[in-house]
C-alpha cells in the first residue's frame, strides 16, 4: 500500500530551500530564507541563539510545517508530502539531535535497531546485528552495545546518537548543534568524527552551530542566518574577512 517514492539522488542539488517563512505568533523567525545544498558539500548555518536555526532544520526534516516556501529534497517538496512519503525521504536524511534523543528505556543496541524497525520484515536479525555493530565501530563504541544510555558519558552519547543516524546510510545528515554541552576536547573529537564520516560515506552535511571550532573544521561553506534570512554566504575565510558589522560580531 505504500508506494515507492522515486528519489532523484543523481541530481547535483540535493536540497533546495526557497523563500521559506515561518513565524510563531508575531515572532517572524524565518523570512524568505533561501539555501541550496550541493551533493557532498558540508554547509554550516551560523546564527545567534533564537535566530531560527533549529526551526530551519526541523522544517527540513518535516517536524515543523513552514508557513510558506518550499523545501525540495531529492526533488520532492517536504511540506506537501504525506506521512508515508515523508518517512521514505527521512530514511535518506539523518538527523543528529541537539540533546542526542537516545531512548532512555532502551539499550544502545535497541536504540540503534530502532530506525531499522521499518525494515525488520525484510532484514534478518543477523543483518541487523551486523549493521548495528558496524555503525558502532564507525564511532568507536562497539563495547557499549548492551549498555543503557544513562551509563554513557556525554561524548559517548553523542557518538551513539551519531551511530544511530548513520545506521540507515543517509545521503544527507542534519546536525543540530552537535557540540553543545560538550567540553572543548570532546567537541573536537566529535567534529573530527563528523569530518571522517563525511569523507567515508560521501554524505552531504548541513550543520547548525554557533561553535567557531565546528565552523572552521567542518565547513566547506558557511551561511549566516541573521534576521530570518540568508544574510551572508561563503567559505569560512571569506566570512571572517567580511566587513559587515552583523557578520563581524560573531568573530570578535
Amino acid at each position: 500500500m505504500q508506494s515507492e517514492l522515486k528519489l532523484d539522488t543523481e541530481s547535483n542539488k540535493v536540497l533546495i530551500i526557497k523563500e521559506l517563512c515561518k513565524s510563531f505568533g508575531d515572532n517572524h523567525v524565518l523570512k524568505d530564507f533561501n539555501l541550496e545544498l550541493v551533493k557532498g558539500e558540508s554547509v554550516v548555518v551560523l546564527g545567534k541563539s533564537g535566530s531560527g536555526k533549529s526551526v530551519l532544520i526541523k522544517c527540513i526534516i518535516g517536524l515543523i510545517k513552514p508557513d510558506k516556501g518550499s523545501i525540495h529534497i531529492f526533488g520532492h517538496n517536504i511540506p506537501d508530502l504525506d506521512h508515508d512519503k515523508l518517512d521514505q525521504i527521512r530514511a535518506k536524511v539523518g538527523f543528529l539531535f541537539q540533546s542526542n534523543a537516545l531512548y532512555d528505556s532502551m539499550t544502545v543496541r535497541e536504540n540503534l535497531e530502532f530506525p531499522l524497525r521499518r525494515h525488520w520484515l525484510e532484514v534478518s536479525q543477523k543483518e541487523v546485528d551486523n549493521m548495528v555493530i558496524s555503525a558502532l565501530e564507525d564511532v568507536g563504541l562497539a563495547h557499549t552495545i548492551d549498555m543503557m544510555p544513562v551509563e554513557l558519558s556525554g561524548g559517548m552519547r553523542k557518538r551513539v546518537a551519531l551511530a544511530r543516524t548513520l545506521i540507515l546510510k543517509p545521503e544527507i545528515i542534519l546536525y543540530d548543534e552537535p557540540t553543545t554541552g560538550l567540553d572543548t576536547i570532546t567537541s573536537k573529537e566529535i567534529i573530527e568524527l563528523m569530518v571522517e564520516i563525511q569523507q567515508k560515506y560521501k554524505t552531504t552535511s548541513l550543520i547548525i552551530s554557533h561553535d567557531m571550532n565546528c565552523v572552521r573544521m567542518a565547513s566547506n561553506r558557511v551561511v549566516m542566518l541573521i534576521e530570518g534570512k540568508c544574510y551572508a554566504s561563503g567559505t569560512f575565510n571569506e566570512i571572517t574577512q567580511s566587513a559587515d558589522p552583523k557578520v563581524k560580531q560573531f568573530f570578535e
Binding site: R90, A91, N100, A101, F114
Partner: protein
Amino acid sequence: MSLKSDLRSFLTLNGELFRFTFRFFSHGLNPPYEFAEFLKQCYVIGYKSLPLIGMTAFIMGLVLTMQLRPSMADYGVEAQLPAIVAIAVIREVGPVITALIFAGKIGSSIGAELGSMKVTEQIDAMEVSGTNPFRYLVATRVLACTLMLPILVMLGDAVSLYGAYLGVNIHTNTSFTLYWTQVFDNLTFGDVLPAFIKSYFFGFAVGIIGCYKGYNSSKGTEGVGRSANSAVVVSSVIIFVIDLLAVQVTDILNY
C-alpha cells in the same frame, strides 16, 4: 483575571484532551501495530503494578470489614457482613481504589516518561526514524492501560475479598466455603459487570491523560514534573467523574 485565565485553561485542557482522544481513535489504532511495545507496556503497566494494587486492595478489604462490623452488629446483621463487603468491594471500592492507585503509579510514570521523551527530543527522533510516535508511544500505553486495569481490578477484588475474609474471621469463625458462598450468593451480574466495564473507562482515562500530559509537556525538567503531577491530578478527578456517570447509567439501566 485569574478566574478568567483559570476558566480558559480549563476549557483549553478539555478541548485539547478531546482532540487528543479523537486523534487516538482516528490515528492511533491504525496499522502498523506496535505489538511488541504493547506487550511490553502491558507487562510494565499491568504485571508490575500488581504488588502495589494487591497490597492496597488487601488492606482495603480488611479495613472495610473491620469498620463495618460494629454498625452491622448494632443492627444485628453481623452475619450479612460478607455480603455487604462483597457488594461494596465489587461495585465501588475495588474499581475506584484500584484506579486511583493505578493513576498514581501509572499516570505519573507515563506523564513523566513521555514528558522527558518530549523534552529530550526522543519523540521527534522517533518521528524522524520512521516510527509514528503517537502509535508507538501513545496508542500502546493507552491500550495497555485500558486492558490491564480491569484485570488489576479483578485481581484486586479477589485479594480484597480475601482480606475481608480474614477481617470477618477476627471476631467470628466463618469457614472459607461459607464465606465465599455468602459472597457469591449476594452478588449479581448487575454488581460485577458495570464495575468491570467502568474499569475499562478508568484505565482509558488514566492512559489518555497521562499520555496527553506527557506528549504536550513544556520544555525543561520542570515541565516534566508538572506533566507527571497534573496527569495524576486530572486522571484522579476524571475517575470520579466517570464513576458518577457510571452510577447514573447503571441506575437508568436498572442494575
